[in-house]
């Protein structure tokens, strides 16, 4: 159950996010099932405007990740707060495989490493990133390990049949 403070914060957040990104779809989600309160879909861009709004509201950038959906990528930015009642905002953006989204590292320094990790594992090149290079994989690697076409073995397809 949401407390009164959380409800107030959510209303405030929604209005300021709607002002910052009018083209985004903002929806409330069930915290008990999803683990986040607010979901912002930004298929037409606005990543940096959302980041600026969240920083003004004193949220921290919890993590950045991507999901490979074969024909497109989904970038996920998670914001959480430690100053108000707990509240978590998830930002999704669907991008094409060869798209180059803008980096939010000018707003959140934390994103420098988090976006480097996304580049390292998915090959998504962020624009205006100060230091986009490999971080965990070797510098001379020519693969992106978390792509769905990497590391697929014969076993992967049959895993369900073998075990169950």
């Amino acid at each position: 159950m949401l407390t009164a403070g959380q409800k107030k914060l959510l209303v405030e957040l929604k209005s300021s996010l709607a002002e910052a990104v009018p083209e985004g779809q903002i929806s409330e989600s069930d915290y008990a099932k999803k683990g986040y309160h607010l979901e912002v879909r930004l298929d037409k861009g606005g990543l940096r405007r959302v980041a600026q709004t969240m920083l003004d509201k004193r949220f921290m950038l919890e993590t950045v990740t991507a999901v490979d959906f074969i024909d497109s990528f989904e970038l996920v930015y998670l914001y959480a707060t430690y100053y108000h009642q707990y509240c978590r905002v998830l930002t999704r953006i669907r991008i094409a495989k060869d798209a180059q989204p803008y980096s939010v590292s000018a707003i959140y320094p934390a994103a420098i490493w988090l976006e480097r990790e996304v580049y390292d594992f998915f090959g998504i090149r962020f624009q205006e990133h100060p230091d986009l290079k490999r971080i965990i994989n070797p510098d001379d690697a020519d693969y992106f390990p978390l792509l769905k076409n990497f590391g697929k073995t014969k076993f992967t397809d049959q895993i369900d049949d073998i075990l169950c």
Binding site: K33, K34, R58, M60, A80, Y108, P109, A110, I135, T153
Partner: protein, 375 residues
Amino acid sequence: MLNIKTIDDATINQRVYQLNLGPQHPSTHGVMHLLLTLDGEVVVKIEPIIGYSHRGHEKMAENRIYEQYLPNPARMDYLSGMIFNHGYCMAVEKLCGIEVPRRAEYIRVITSELNRIASHFIGTMDYAMGLGAITPFLWGWDDRENILDLLEMISGSRLTYSYGRFGGVRNDITKEFYDGTRKFIDRLRSRFWDYENLINQNVIFIKRSKEVGVISKEDALAFGVTGPTLRGSGVKYDVRKNEPYSAYPEFKFEIPTRKEGDCLARYQVRMAELEQSVNIIEQALDHLPPGPVRAKVPRFVTPPEGDCYVTFESARGAAGFYIVSDGTRVPYRIKVRAPSFSNLFVLTKICPGHFLADIVAIFGSIDVTVPEIDR
């Protein structure tokens, strides 16, 4: 032998030079490489180079079913394996909508807190050893050894536990574990005073950690710092209190904070947290409810399509699992938020301007686990 005639005067006379701290350095407990740019003895720039112990845990998740992934989380952060195991179970339970029996929640809290104490002993005492004090380290490991024995009694392993199961824990706790934990708590309580006397007032220790490596609140927010490192900077944030999970809302405990933000503050926060963890364990043992320790769950879980994010307080900060399911028995994607990853990156902001010797202190006080950063 190097032919010194080939080194020209400009190289000899240069002021700013680079130094590799690690990858094999005793103070970095793990394979961590810090590339330092020094002006004399003062650090101008620091670049942590990570990835030496990358094992691809996130990729492994995409090649096995949810149950098979159970041993992996404990191997990410090997010092607080029980907490990571607990967190992963919570994430899958949230995704599938599984209710956990109360007794199981209590047992999870007890084991997690024992593990947190063990981890904090490494964090604090290893830090003291980094500053040249050997005895506290040996004392801390003595106490930690008792915890490892206790946890081995119920889970069968000493470090990389896979004790949790979806919907509960593997087996109930035994009488020996119950009595042993009580005995351990009494022993630890009597030793707090010794720790206080042994190191906390030591002049060398204080001089080397006071006003060194100050993290301001603003930096902490911008870099996403969490855990004892954040609480040392005066922000009262603990996932166990702010975003309660498991059985934590049922226990009374404080969140120790210090406002200085230096190495000493972080050390003091960890030492104060030991006491709070002991309090939680004691309350949980007092009110341990009867009943089953595992809910009725199908042998193989099949979560519905969708995603969820679960956060929990590991010994190093707010860790989290982001799981995307496509409705099959194999996870589509598991992303782990490693608290050490964000905590380590703040070094690049706070280290410049410090002496080389202080880097060892700052690095130790942040208390990162390298396998967790690399995953």
